[in-house]
């Protein structure tokens, strides 16, 4: 049910994001089938420290054009307009990695891409939705939907975008960090609630 980018992946992406502009693209291209590139946009949570930074992600199995088509597909499946491309790129990266090691999966993606056509990404959103509706029951679409839902919301970019604070053990839980800071509704009487445990 779940598949998430590893911590190493995440740091690598962030490094790419920071250093992307300075990356030696030629060197990257030599080792990979294609590349995904982008620029961190304003409005993205990443913009705080990385606005305007170019990023580059090397691919093992997908071509540059195919990766761009899949990016457009993932953005159509889960449209969050202000969520940075870098988050969506993680889904494509995961598809690329699986396609690299799994020939059956690679054939499934390749077949789906052929069906979508190379101009898929040039369509407006409503046209892309219509095209995807027609292939909704296909194994390709279902695999891409599942990957998208599994990966996108597990990325640190999504955590930041949706305001999700994640694991709290390392910070002492939420007990003294807002677990009960909602004030737009009445407080709960003591007998239906319980006392805060002592800090000591």
């Amino acid at each position: 049910m779940w598949e998430t980018p590893t911590v190493a992946d995440t740091y690598r992406i962030i490094r790419l994001c920071k250093d992307g502009a300075r990356m030696n693209r030629r060197k990257l291209l030599k080792a990979s089938a294609g590349v995904l590139t982008g620029v961190v946009v304003s409005g993205s949570p990443l913009a705080l420290w990385a606005k305007g930074r170019a990023w580059t992600m090397d691919l093992a199995a997908l071509s540059t054009a195919d990766a761009a088509t899949l990016m457009a597909m993932v953005r159509t499946i889960l449209p969050h307009d202000k969520l940075d491309d870098l988050a969506y790129a993680q889904v494509v990266k995961a598809v690329d990695q699986q396609a690299h090691g799994d020939s059956r999966f690679a054939a499934l993606i390749e077949g789906g891409l052929r069906q979508l056509g190379s101009d898929f990404g040039k369509n407006g959103e409503s046209q892309r939705v219509e095209i995807l509706k027609k292939i909704e029951s296909s194994e390709f679409f279902q695999a891409m939907r599942q990957k998208s839902v599994q990966i996108l919301y597990a990325t640190p970019f999504a955590y930041s975008y949706f305001g999700y604070e994640g694991e709290a053990f390392s910070k002492g839980g939420y007990l003294f960090r807002g677990f009960s800071d909602l004030h737009w509704l009445p407080e709960v009487p003591e007998e239906n609630s319980g006392p805060l445990p002592a800090k000591s």
Partner: protein, 522 residues
């Protein structure tokens, strides 16, 4: 830890180290009885629990192949995961959310109170509530259940504030932060809940009761327990007289081992308990062990569940806090005027961001689907936990095609919902909708029926052999030294989350086994 020889025929062998098996192991070893505890999973600890939701899921969950059939929603929404329970030392008490309500007295007399309902196989429990109550009290003390024995409730989280305001406005009276086996203050050598919201990932505080760090280490400290991890039972063996006398299992290297036994207690969660009994067929027991009645695997109950989310125009931050620390209990009654028998609880729920769209939402994509997640900060949730009716054909069977890693048939889970089940869920969803609308939710989002986490009744205790698999002690009707020690033995599901009842029954069964051993009866 004890070192028990494979040919020690005096050993009690327990299969599964969760709420039932782990508790039973502690009680028996306390009585000086030598126990071999077989656990299919690995041993984790509060230090090793992953804090990445996807990793934690893979670390703790029973992921071996299963199949499913029938008309229940799980088949559509979670085709690969009909049930969600653990494969790790501590079993499902590692990922449970620790709700510990009791069954109510009338729920033990479901057949008498509800009457004969076509399409169901209801029976009454073969023991009274008074008998069970003694062990509920013991279990609650053992587990440190809140709002019992002077232990305070957990403090209200943001998510509960929404539940409380909305439910009381709708007229509900019994709305509180719940009976939970989660420490609201330090208890029993374990710290208090710091409201991490990661109950399902394994509580790194150890504030939530789990046999992993309560019963099992104490059993080990008696010197009478040998815990064998990554050891998967594949067959229970018996002698010519029809007494069980050993267990065949796969060790961590996948090699077949054979442990002799005086008594075998099966506590592998209802799906695996059933599978093991069916896999243990022989010429003497051609339908599977203890299954001359044909009832093993039948009457599968899983609770009528569902999720409903309310979205507000202000933030809730529902993830900050214990997952299920809130309950509305007013509907936990039998009132056929609602259009169904049996009751339900509404329990607070929150899901971490990666899990929310996977488990919390119905299938979807595009703008509408994404717009729900856009409001992740502003949502509050409730989980329905209602009584389902037992049906003879809702059952666990062996799949003749799909096999596990050892080449043995996988379990198939079949559920066709009864009209009563459908009516109960519809009523509960309607009530939650009204509750949230009463405090101006801007949107109500009904979720899917999640994979079953409560797997029950497939070796149910019954007064008569033809109605069930075990007697009032969870002892096989046919084989005196074979016991069922998990949720499979519950006679009916009621509308209480089952772990407290499983622990209470394990404590009671341990006393019985110790007494019978002493008396030389088994």
């Amino acid at each position: 830890m004890a070192n028990i020889a494979l040919n020690d025929s005096e050993a009690v062998v327990i299969i599964g180290s969760g709420a039932g098996g782990g508790t039973l192991a502690h009680e028996l070893t306390r009585h000086g009885i030598k126990v071999v505890l077989l656990e299919a999973g690995k041993r984790q600890s509060t230090q090793t629990f992953s804090q990445v939701p996807g990793e934690a899921f893979r670390q703790l969950t029973w992921l071996d192949a299963r199949t499913q059939s029938g008309d229940w929603g799980v088949k559509r929404d979670f085709p690969d995961l009909p049930v969600w329970h653990c494969k790790t030392v501590g079993g499902t008490t590692v990922h449970w959310t620790a709700a510990t309500p009791r069954l109510q007295p009338w729920e033990l007399q479901a057949k008498t109170i509800y009457g004969a309902i076509p399409g169901s196989s209801l029976i009454d429990w073969p023991l009274s509530y008074d008998e069970l109550e003694t062990y509920y009290q013991l279990a609650e003390r053992r587990m440190g259940v809140t709002r019992r024995n002077g232990i305070p409730g957990l403090p209200a989280s943001n998510n509960f504030k929404v539940m409380y305001a909305a439910a009381t406005k709708a007229g509900y009276k019994q709305v509180h932060t719940g009976h939970l086996a989660i420490n609201s203050r330090a208890f029993d050598g374990r710290g208090f809940c710091i409201q991490q919201g990661f109950c399902v990932q394994g509580c790194k505080m150890g504030a939530k009761w789990s046999t992993l760090y309560t019963e099992i280490p104490r059993a080990e400290a008696t010197g009478n327990l040998e815990l064998r991890t990554e050891s998967t039972a594949v067959r229970v063996e018996h002698n010519d007289a029809g007494r069980v006398n050993g267990i065949v299992y796969r060790d961590p290297q996948g090699r077949e081992q054979r442990q002799k036994a005086r008594i075998v207690c099966v506590a592998g969660n209802a799906i695996e308990t059933t599978r093991l009994l069916l896999l243990s067929e022989s010429s003497k027991f051609p339908n599977g062990l203890g299954n001359s009645s044909g009832q093993v695997g039948r009457n599968y109950c899983h609770h009528i569940t569902g999720l409903v989310w309310g979205i507000f125009d202000k933030p809730v931050y529902s993830w900050r806090g214990a997952t299920i620390a809130g309950v509305v209990e007013d509907e936990a009654r039998n009132d056929p005027s609602r259009g169904f028998v049996g009751g339900y609880r509404l329990e607070l729920i929150t899901l971490d961001l990666p899990t929310f769209p996977l488990v919390g939402l119905r299938y979807g994509w595009g703008r509408d689907f994404a717009s729900i997640i856009e409001d992740y900060r502003n949502l509050s949730g409730m989980f329905i936990n209602g009584e389902d009716l037992p049906r003879p054909d809702n059952r666990i069977t062996l799949n003749s095609v799909v096999k596990d890693a050892f080449g043995l048939p996988a379990a198939n889970v079949h559920v066709d919902e009864h009209a009563n089940d459908v009516a109960l869920r519809k009523h509960a969803q309607g009530q939650i909708t009204k509750i949230y609308q009463g405090i101006d939710a801007k949107r109500i989002v009904p979720g899917p029926v999640p994979p079953a986490t409560h797997n029950l009744c497939t070796a149910r205790m019954s007064a008569r052999l033809e109605d069930g698999v075990t007697n009032r002690w969870g002892q096989s009707h046919e084989i005196k030294n074979l016991f069922i020690s998990d949720g499979s033995a519950l006679t009916t599901a009621g509308c209480a989350n089952p772990t407290l009842t499983i622990v209470a029954l394990a404590l009671r069964q341990a006393e019985f086994i110790a007494g019978e051993l002493k008396a030389g009866h088994i």
